[in-house]
Symmetry: C2
């Protein structure tokens, strides 16, 4: 199947928001999604955007059962390792189920890696749920390390009240 990988444009944000929800349903946490295409437009297509995004697009002839031609996305941003330097973080990688098995996910991820390499990034990082064996196997087969298993790194999050409390404790300028 022919498909094209290209940088997302502002007008793709409705498609991206749709697929973000599809991915969250797969990850069994759809009620966690609180943002809409409007926030994506604001945060991804401003000066100093908070993220970048690639889109996988098929021709009209191959559009999905529901009529979509944007069938996958990779959303990423740049982070920093104080040990190794510039890093790219792949926040989301998604291909609609009916388009899987065509190498689209692999192409999206490789293209992110290539863009990052051009920016002198030395790492590509992401996170995955422990029960998502297909994804874990896919990353492992490509040589990725699971840092939680091998070194014991855990994700910690402050939000809501715990974040508000931190903010309140900040020293005055």
């Amino acid at each position: 199947m022919d498909y094209k990988i290209r940088a997302a444009r502002k007008e793709d944000c409705k498609d991206i928001a749709r697929m973000i929800m599809e991915l969250a349903v797969f990850e069994k946490m759809p009620d966690q999604v609180k943002i809409s295409y409007k926030e994506l437009e604001r945060d991804g297509f401003c000066q100093n955007p908070f993220f970048e995004c690639l889109i996988a697009e098929v021709s009209d002839a191959h559009r999905s059962k529901c009529g979509h031609t944007v069938v996958g996305y990779a959303l990423y941003f740049y982070t920093y390792s104080t040990w190794k330097g510039r890093t790219v973080y792949l926040e989301d990688l998604y291909v609609m189920p009916e388009f899987r098995g065509n190498g689209i996910g692999k192409s999206l991820m490789s293209k992110v890696a290539k863009i990052a390499a051009e920016k002198q990034c030395v790492r590509l990082q992401l996170s995955v749920l422990d029960w998502n064996s297909p994804a874990r196997d896919f990353y492992a087969a490509k040589g990725a390390q699971d840092l939680t298993d091998s070194e014991g790194w855990h994700f910690i999050r402050f939000d809501g009240l715990s974040l508000d409390n931190l903010v309140k404790e900040a020293p005055q300028d």
Copy 2:
């Protein structure tokens, strides 16, 4: 003990690099540190910097045994959640051992939270090693969630050969 929290300046990078190594020694992975103050200067003090940094500074009267007045740092950057939006990621939080117990770490973290809240960030995230109980207890006491324990998120990394292989597989433009 009096101390000041302030934004890092380019000339602080030698002190930051020194403390990055001290933290890596504590984390039992000093051989992993491959960057020097020169990369920090390049990546943190350019247009669209890859990170921001706060410094804790004491007066000359309180300088360390080795003569340092920059005694702690918090290095952070902005990431993005496709479920919740703008997020700040605290890559490193460190206070020199002889200055601990004075609330400096708490002040650094709270100040990062405050700066992030002003940028409409709704989360502060970080990672911690499973054996680092003092840090884990500190975050838990402040209301943070351990997402690896509660939801099963694992860190995945591509670097070196596995990253090179991804780059090679990228589709041509």
